[in-house]
């Protein structure tokens, strides 16, 4: 039974509607990667972008009925597709303005999107480049000028020509690099420390690594925006704080910290939440990112499916869960697609008592494969406490079936480069995968298992599985235009892939937050904040506090 995750979730909200005014405090360890939406692309910064940038479409607000849905933002609807599926047309709303009062027209949107092709700027979301047709050597507006494959017949209409049909294009149009940019601006380092806001807030102060201050964008018209409520007057981000300190501050809730929100709590903090005074502000949501162990199918003896299945049986997922922080911080996973993402299908191909691993079965399979005495394998790992604990748990559980796991510790900064380069990749690695949108599993299964996507560098198919059957099943699923049918196809495909055991799903890490007692409007957003808190709805109960 794999569905243990579904029970814990709280719908979110915390009592009370946000009032108008006040400043939300955000306590954060790391700085955002980039202020430029064409450069940044991760759960955290995408969430932040929604406060200052608007895109053609956007994931629904966390408080919406279906938060996984993609809804219109700058556009009046989620686009109209041509019959051949190659042309998508969007119409802009009226009254859209930048923070300086200049109107936002289709030209600005097109300019913003075309920046994605610039080799140095367009390092964010890759989807625009992947699906939109463009001249072969097009290098963005600053180098190559106008992009002919995006047309702007008038100020409010924008037409995209795709390379191939892509039914999920509305989700692509919600990517941060679909934010509008004034034509000609934004070259070089112009938007390093500045932004051109189209959302409800604009940048007041930015000290990299320490402070971001957002104030109201007076030119943002709430009437044009169904997603953002933008109740607070401003946002104050404190960056570079130690995670333990953040937790201490949240627990203490002194001064302005009553208005504070932050990321996940540390495992050590959980034991201190037993006090009832914390219980009513504790937020506990299922996650959308799967933690898994990739098994490199090109290496002996992992090229033997029996061996991979044996490993799938042997791993003590409960120990991995404990190392991650126990049941409060992680749900055990048996599938690749997490439960909160559309397309999830419940199954567990390698079940065991209490998820502690089935040693007998594993030994049996190993014996069948001719490895009754086990073997040695190397696991790429990062030396961060949580990741280290997960790796150590795997090491210990595989030791039970005679598999000796040696660690190859890699510095965090080099980890993805190493495991994403098949030449450097070792036998196994533990990593995670978050979907780029929650409305479909099209950003889960293909990147992880499509054999044709294996590249020399930046590879995400860690199993390096290249199975014609799976490849064609992926093509089929991508072509399905009916969302429900597509979801079913993805779910079945997930099961089909795991029969081959190229990865061992381990966990889905949960979201456990402790917002300040004056904070409300707290909702999960699987689409934009990888299951975390959606900033767009957050506000204060009493703006005069803190």
């Amino acid at each position: 039974d794999g569905g243990s995750g579904s029970t814990a979730s709280t719908a979110g909200g915390l009592e009370g509607e946000p009032a108008e005014g006040g400043v939300v405090q955000v306590l954060q360890n790391a700085d955002y990667s980039y202020l430029d939406p064409a450069k940044g692309w991760d759960g955290g910064v995408n969430n932040f972008y929604r406060l200052v940038y608007r895109t053609l479409t956007t994931p629904a607000s966390g408080s919406a009925e279906d938060p996984n849905e993609i809804v219109p933002d700058l556009a009046t609807d989620t686009g109209t597709v041509s019959d051949d599926g190659l042309t998508w047309t969007f119409t802009l709303k009226d009254g859209l303005k930048f923070d300086n009062g200049d109107p936002i027209t289709s030209a600005e949107v097109k300019f913003g999107v075309s920046r994605a092709w610039d080799p140095e700027i367009g390092i964010g979301s890759p989807y625009a480049k992947q699906v939109i047709d463009a001249p072969k050597d097009y290098q963005g507006p600053y180098v190559s000028g106008d992009l002919p494959t995006i047309e702007t017949p008038d100020d409010t209409t924008i037409v995209f020509h795709l390379k191939a049909p892509f039914p999920d294009f509305p989700a692509v149009a919600s990517q941060p690099n679909f934010a509008p940019f004034p034509v000609g601006s934004g070259a070089g380092d112009e938007f390093l420390n500045d932004i051109v806001a189209s959302g409800p807030y604009t940048l007041d102060e930015y000290t990299p690594g320490s402070v971001i201050n957002l104030v109201r964008n007076e030119n943002w018209d709430p009437a044009t925006d169904e997603v953002r409520t933008a109740k607070p007057d401003g946002w104050h981000f404190q960056l570079g704080l130690d995670p333990a300190t953040i937790d201490e501050r949240l627990l203490a809730g002194q001064g302005a910290d009553v208005n504070a929100i932050a990321g996940n709590l540390q495992p050590a903090t959980l034991a201190r939440l037993q006090d009832p005074k914390y219980q009513d502000r504790l937020v506990d949501w299922p996650g959308v990112c799967t933690t898994y162990m990739g098994l490199n199918t090109t290496k002996k003896p992992l090229n033997d499916v029996k061996v991979r299945q044996a490993i799938s049986y042997a791993v003590d997922k409960a120990a991995v869960q404990n190392g991650t922080g126990g049941t409060m911080l992680a749900d055990i996973a048996s599938t690749t697609i997490p439960q909160s993402v559309a397309g999830y299908k419940e199954f567990d191909l390698y079940p065991s008592e209490g998820n502690t691993g089935d040693v007998e079965k594993a030994k049996e399979l190993l014996a069948e494969a001719g490895y009754a005495d086990g073997f040695d394998m190397t696991l790429d790992m990062r030396t961060q406490p949580k990741l280290q604990a997960q790796a150590e748990a795997v090491q210990q559980s595989l030791a039970r079936v005679g598999i000796k796991v040696t660690f190859n510790p890699i510095d965090t900064s080099k980890f993805y480069e190493t495991i994403g380069t098949p030449k450097l990749q070792n036998d196994a690695a533990i990593t995670g995968w978050c979907p780029d949108w929650a409305s479909s599993a099209s950003t889960v299964i293909p990147p992880l298992f499509d054999g044709r996507r294996i590249t020399d560098k930046g590879n995400s198919n860690l199993g390096q599985i290249d199975d014609p059957a799976i490849n064609s099943a992926i093509d089929d699923a991508l072509a399905v235009t009916d969302p429900a049918a597509a979801n079913e196809a993805w779910g079945n495909l997930d099961e089909q892939v795991l029969e081959e055991a190229p990865i061992v799903p381990l966990l889905v890490e949960k979201v456990v937050l402790l917002p300040g007692e004056n904070v409300t409007g707290v909702y999960s957003s699987p689409g934009v904040a990888t299951g975390g808190l959606d900033y767009t709805g957050v506000g204060l109960k009493d703006p005069s506090k803190g």
Partner: protein, 318 residues
């Protein structure tokens, strides 16, 4: 890092005077050292830790749990992996309690951690001493160009923000076997501090007439250095070395704390402290144990070095 590199020199007071010294016979030093309560306590603790480190596999057999064994039954999965029971899960089964999240036995990890800490500190001390004495002697004895070159290299190494650089190098280098790498990196930045003192003393010693006497007797340069000068540096080297050990223990712990220490799952005290820091409020035992062990070890070496220095100085004044 707990102890900056400059400490070493400060503690030994730059170049301790080279006495027109009496033999300061070995048993004399011992005899005086063993009369000092602080020194005896320090020595006993060091001996205890050394014993634990050397006999770790045996000790762990006695206590029943290995340093890598998970004990899921000792922790509570619903409370973030907190050890079950009071005082961090201290029980007859787990003498020092268990590690949160994994349930590994803390006693075993401390014992094995002692191995890491001692091994690295002692290896680093040995290497720095070798390098420091060698280059110090070279520069001090030859003076002139050799001295210029060695001194510039030392200036250069001492000008480096050693900690930043160590972290950067350690995190950039492939890390399959961190311990030798740690020793190497620590030593590369550590030897100039000893070398400077040795150089200074060698320079004064070289002025002394017995060096000239040896030369007049036909001794070659390296014989003068090895047979005449080196024996006179003995007490300095012993004192500096003793005072260097706690520095390197601290450095290793600091580097482990910053995540570039030995490779897991091998335990080290610094790493344990780093991991236990976030648990200090809910599982203080977990936090205090490695911290106390580390503190006492550093303290012991410092006290020992201090007392040793007093005894040796007093001997030289006699």
């Amino acid at each position: 890092m707990t102890i900056s590199m400059t400490t070493l020199e400060a503690e030994t007071g730059g170049a301790p005077s080279v006495g027109v010294a009496p033999p300061a016979p070995r048993q004399g030093v011992w005899h005086h050292l063993l009369r000092n309560r602080g020194a005896v306590l320090a020595l006993s603790y060091i001996a205890l830790v050394a014993l634990l480190a050397v006999a770790a596999p045996l000790v762990v057999k006695l206590s029943g749990w290995g340093p890598y064994e998970f004990d899921q039954s000792a922790i509570d999965p619903n409370l973030g992996g907190l050890p079950i029971g009071p005082l961090g899960g201290i029980s007859a089964e787990h003498w020092f309690g268990v590690e949160p999240g994994t349930g590994r036995d803390l006693f075993a990890r401390i014992v094995y951690g002692a191995r890491t800490s001692m091994l690295i500190a002692i290896a680093a001390t040995t290497l720095t001493t070798l390098l420091g004495v060698l280059f110090g002697l070279l520069a001090g004895y030859h003076g002139g160009k050799v001295d210029q070159v060695v001194s510039r290299v030392m200036d250069f190494l001492m000008a480096f923000p050693a900690l930043i650089f160590m972290i950067a190098i350690l995190s950039a280098l492939p890390a399959s076997n961190r311990a030798p790498l740690l020793v190497l990196v620590i030593s590369v930045f550590g030897w100039p501090y000893l070398a400077r003192v040795v150089r200074g003393q060698t320079m004064t010693l070289t002025q002394r007439e017995f060096v000239e006497a040896a030369r007049a007797s036909g001794a070659s340069g390296w014989r003068i250095v090895l047979l005449e000068i080196l024996p006179n540096l003995r007490s300095t080297i012993i004192v500096m070395t003793t005072l260097a050990v706690p520095g390197y223990i601290g450095t290793e712990a600091g580097l482990s704390f910053l995540g570039v220490g030995v490779v897991p799952p091998t335990p080290s005290w610094g790493q344990m402290i780093a991991q236990s820091m976030s648990w200090y409020a809910v599982d203080p035992v977990y936090f205090l144990l490695p911290g106390t062990f580390l503190f006492l070890l550093v303290l012991s070496f410092t006290v020992l070095g201090d007392r040793l220095k007093d005894v040796v100085d007093a001997g030289e004044r006699r």
